[in-house]
């Protein structure tokens, strides 16, 4: 059992939990994820780690309530327990001094790109951050991102904070400005990552994405997270979650993410009554 040590509501449907996981905290690196199973009947849910404290033995996760498991996870209070937390899983982000880097976070993806951005900033890169969400309420980690970037651009679909529009718009402007960009990382909904990659491809700037396919064991055993990358089948859980975005078949990924939409509704109904 793994205890919840702290809880923060970041937005009406976005929650941060700090978990007591000393062994994982010692090992985890930016870009890696954990599997969470709430209870005996629970499913195995992959969540990318938002932050960690090796000394205090904690990791934090940030999630948006979209299905039964995330809804129940959002109801957990401090001192309550989670049955299983497994990790660190997947490959970590490659952190090096690239030069000028753009880090793009969409929705709760911002919570995940935050530790990556911090590591790149600390490695001496000049970092531009672009964070976007549907509206002001869903924007998270803006202050934290501000602190680890040389420049931060905020966008919302409805213009309730920052620039009105999508993250791809300021991205394109930067690329068009002729300034040399050495490396780009984007983490967010699959559709956002797809369009970020479409935007950067003509400029031939390497663009890394962190994929979020459906997973089960997350140890390379079941293959449900398979995704086409550069014409080959890769497993998101062990070969990823990060891949060269220009090689990823996003349409197939997006299609595979829809596999259990009907079942998710049935599942939700069991707690909504």
């Amino acid at each position: 059992m793994y205890k919840v040590l702290d809880k923060k509501k970041l937005a009406s449907t976005v929650t941060l939990l700090k978990l007591d996981t000393p062994e994982i905290a010692k090992k985890v690196k930016p870009g890696q994820f954990v599997i969470i199973r709430l209870n005996e009947e629970g499913e195995r849910l992959p969540l990318t780690v938002n932050d960690f404290d090796r000394e205090k033995g904690t990791i934090t996760i940030v999630f948006q309530e979209v299905g039964k498991t995330t809804k129940l996870l959002g109801k957990l209070e401090v001192n309550e327990q989670i049955a299983d937390v497994v990790g660190p899983l997947g490959k970590h982000t490659e952190i090096e001094k690239f030069g000028k880097v753009i880090c793009i976070g969409g929705g709760v993806g911002t919570a995940v790109i935050y530790p990556v951005t911090r590591a790149l900033y600390q490695a001496g890169n000049e970092v531009v951050g672009i964070v976007g969400a549907r509206n002001k309420d869903l924007l998270t980690f803006v202050d934290e991102m501000e602190a680890v970037t040389n420049q931060l651009i905020v966008t919302t679909d409805d213009g309730s904070q920052g620039r009105k529009g999508l993250v791809t718009e300021p991205l394109k402007e930067i690329l068009d400005s002729g300034e040399k960009i050495d490396h780009i990382i984007a983490i967010g909904p699959a559709i956002m990552m797809k369009f970020v990659c479409k935007t950067t491809e003509p400029y031939k700037v390497k663009t890394i994405v962190s994929l979020n396919p459906i997973m089960l064991d997350a140890t390379g055993m079941c293959g449900v997270c398979r995704v086409r990358v550069g014409g080959e089948t890769k497993f998101g859980c062990v070969d990823g979650p990060e891949f060269d975005g220009h090689q990823v078949d996003f349409d197939s990924l997006i299609n595979r993410l829809k596999q259990y939409v009907a079942e998710e509704k049935i599942s939700m109904a069991t707690i909504e009554g």
Partner: protein, 473 residues
């Protein structure tokens, strides 16, 4: 032997006592076990068929060397408690082995009674004894030996790992069993379905191993949480790798990324480990599709076919490129699948999967095959018949083509010698690997095999680890 042979001729041995089972029409709509087990009287009666051979050939056919005549004698005397102790002195998982061992090619294949008629049902008796002990609540751990000042890390809690762990704990070593999943048992819990191996029974046998003093750590993916060198540095004197051959194989044909296409590992893990057949009571979903094709013909394919039938499919096809004679599954499993109305599409090979505009699989294009000259495996090579393509309408495809070595741990272990397929190179007798103090056994060495062969490897490794730790400073 000559003596016993003569005796066998003189004695009229009655027919094997039939074990009752759920009828096919009933069992296809539940996940309960199919064979129902012997009663006490039936077990004693079956045990009396044993000739009590002095040189027991049956025991030589057992990879974990159970003293078969002795435990059967105790069953014949209805001394079930002692029979259980006798088996457990060499096998910690009798309720599992009694159910899933291929006795017909091991102990029972050597049984003298089997030379005429059916051999003694050694598997049925082993199962009975283990179930009797559990049902009577008399399972007790043997007395703890004096603790030794050496620690062993066992990686993977499947049949190989459980055997190494219990054998070494019985010798007094401090043993930690690391399991990546949230439940202990490996393939026994994620792979083999409830109707063949009830999970409560696996748990009871895992509990027994734990009662020997083995420390079990679930949610511990070695290779990520700790590497093997880190385990050695943190105070383990030896490590056993028994991680199974976990990676799924696909055919690399067009359309495998379509929705509705699964590896057997995924399909069975959903149903068995995550109990998706009880969705939405359990949160993990599984598709209850109507026209299912399972590709492959091993035991895992049979398990997939029979699971799909129980989930309510109307038509379940078993698609295999060779003929029935070459099917690698146990006969018993093939027969049960047929009784449950599996539709065999033999000498048939999928060439592509067809999907609709929503990205779901709707059909499987296959080609007819014929058998040509024998290949390296000695089986006749299937050759496609030109122009024989046809389409099977399906809404679910399960690839049960075998597994390959999962590289997660092996790649994180510098100096560990692997063969060209990525399996660990280990000594056949001692299970020693290229790293001093590191041993390996089971599917990660042999590729997909059986529960009992993995247990046999575990037994050998435990002996070798004991001798290594007894001689090393």
């Amino acid at each position: 032997m000559a003596d016993e042979g003569k005796k066998a001729k003189k004695t009229i041995i009655p027919d094997r006592v039939h074990m009752a089972e759920q009828a096919a029409e009933e069992r296809v709509s539940n996940f309960k076990e199919v064979p129902l087990g012997y009663t006490e009287d039936q077990a004693a009666e079956e045990a009396k068929r044993c000739l009590q051979c002095k040189k027991a050939a049956c025991s030589t056919g057992c990879p974990v060397e159970i003293n078969i005549p002795e435990f059967i004698k105790l069953v014949a005397e209805k001394n079930f408690q002692e029979a259980a102790k006798k088996i457990k002195s060499t096998n910690s998982l009798p309720a599992v082995c009694g159910r899933v061992c291929p006795q017909e090619i091991q102990c029972e294949s050597k049984c003298i009674v089997g030379k005429k008629g059916d051999p003694v049902s050694i598997g049925g008796l082993e199962r009975f004894v283990a179930d009797w002990e559990r049902d009577h609540g008399t399972v007790e751990a043997p007395p703890r030996p004096q603790a030794r000042n050496k620690k062993v890390a066992v990686v993977g809690s499947g049949p190989a790992g459980l055997t190494v762990a219990s054998d070494l704990a019985k010798l007094g070593y401090g043993v930690t069993l690391f399991e990546a999943l949230h439940k202990t048992g490996g393939v026994l819990v994620y792979g083999i379905p409830e109707f063949r191996l009830p999970k409560a029974i696996v748990q009871a046998e895992v509990d027994f191993v734990e009662s020997l003093g083995v420390e079990i750590k679930t949610n511990a993916l070695i290779g990520k949480l700790y590497t093997i060198p880190e385990l050695m540095e943190s105070g383990y004197d030896a490590v056993f790798i028994g991680i199974g051959a976990g990676g799924p194989m696909f055919m690399n044909i067009p359309g495998e990324e379509l929705n509705g296409v699964y590896s057997a590992n995924e399909f069975l893990t959903r149903s068995n480990l995550m109990k998706a057949y009880l969705f939405p009571e359990y949160d993990t979903p599984i598709k209850k599709n109507k026209k299912v094709a399972v590709v492959g013909a091993g035991n895992v394919a049979m398990d997939s076919v029979r699971t799909a039938i129980r989930l309510g499919a109307d038509e379940v096809y078993l698609v295999y490129r060779r003929s029935e004679k070459e099917m690698p599954a146990r006969n018993e499993e093939i027969e049960r699948a047929k009784e449950e109305n599996a539709i065999l599409k033999l000498l048939t090979n999928p060439v592509r999967l067809i999907g609709n505009d929503k990205g779901w699989v709707t059909g499987m294009e296959c080609i007819k095959m014929e058998l040509g000259e024998p290949d390296d495996s000695g089986r006749r090579r299937p050759v496609p018949i030109k122009g024989s393509e046809f389409i099977i309408e399906v809404d679910d495809v399960i690839m049960a083509l075998g597994t390959n070595a999962n590289p997660l741990l092996t790649q994180a272990t510098p100096g560990l010698e692997l063969n060209k397929w990525g399996y660990v190179v280990a000594d056949e007798e001692t299970c020693a690997t290229s790293i001093k103090g590191v041993y390996a056994g089971g599917d990660i060495v042999t590729g997909s095999a059986t529960v009992i062969l993995a247990m046999g490897a575990g037994r050998k490794a435990a002996k070798a680890i004991d001798s290594y730790l007894s001689t090393s400073a």
